[in-house]
């Protein structure tokens, strides 16, 4: 599974992307955020206010309860500020 991070999520985790193997118990975007939070203090910092973090699966916006099965690329990022 490829994970990609943007803006201050990327800065807090300290890398723009990574490949990761997930245990079968991680089924949803919400599960994945919880799992990542336990990987180290940089992840805990990035996800400390998990409810503001947005996610995308294969470049489409998804909600925290979305299943991640079959995803090739999952992205986490703050609320968008383009335009």
């Amino acid at each position: 599974m490829k994970l990609v991070y943007f803006a201050w999520v990327r800065e807090r985790i300290g890398k723009p992307e990574e490949e990761i193997d997930l245990p079968a118990s991680v089924r949803t975007i919400g599960d994945l955020m919880t799992y990542l939070t336990g990987r180290g203090e940089e992840y805990a910092y990035a996800f400390e206010n998990a409810k503001v973090i947005r996610a995308a699966i294969d470049k489409t916006h998804v909600k925290p309860d979305t299943a991640i099965a079959g995803a090739r690329e999952i992205a986490f990022f703050p609320p968008m500020t383009g335009g």
């Binding site: 943007f6 803006a7 470049k59 489409t60 968008m80 500020t81 383009g82 335009g83």
Partner: protein, 155 residues
């Protein structure tokens, strides 16, 4: 539909000409240009985006605008990279036979770009107090109004 993400600047006149050249059915052109502001000590701004997803999100909303209003053409250009105050950041051009559709589509696209297209702004400020721009609540409200609005009938 033209959607481009690029570091380069754009030429509003040229983009309008591209949508109107050789046709006489366009009666209305609405454009919006977003510019990097120098307010509150901002000395520069960096725009980060999610390549691939940004194009897809914009194209999805342009298609939605085309289904809501009778548009002759739509162009969206969003720059990424580092900008100084006064530089262009985003351009939306919508053309139609009548002004209502052109204005509505341009506003709709800007409202959705703000809240749905994966771009993030980081400001550099005098004194080194850099920081990511926070999403404005008013932008979320502006986007939500389209969920309730039915488009007006074409004329």
């Amino acid at each position: 539909m033209t959607v481009r993400l690029q570091p380069e600047d754009f030429d509003i006149g040229a983009e309008i000409s591209a949508l109107t050249a050789g046709r006489t059915d366009v009666g209305a052109i609405a454009t919006f240009t977003g510019i990097c502001r120098g307010a509150e000590g901002v000395t520069a701004m960096t725009l980060e985006h999610y390549p691939g997803m940004a194009e897809a999100e914009i194209e999805r909303h342009v298609a939605e605008a085309q289904s809501r209003w009778p548009l002759a053409g739509v162009t969206v250009i969003h720059r990424f990279g580092r900008f100084s105050p006064g530089e262009n950041i985003v351009l939306v051009v919508a053309t139609s036979s009548h002004r209502e559709a052109a204005f509505a589509a341009a506003e709709f696209l800007m409202d959705y770009l703000k809240v749905s297209a994966p771009f993030w702004k980081k400001e550099e400020r005098a004194g080194g107090d850099d920081g990511w721009v926070e999403a404005r609540h008013t932008d979320a409200v502006a986007a939500q109004r389209w969920a309730a609005d039915k488009p007006e009938a074409a004329e």
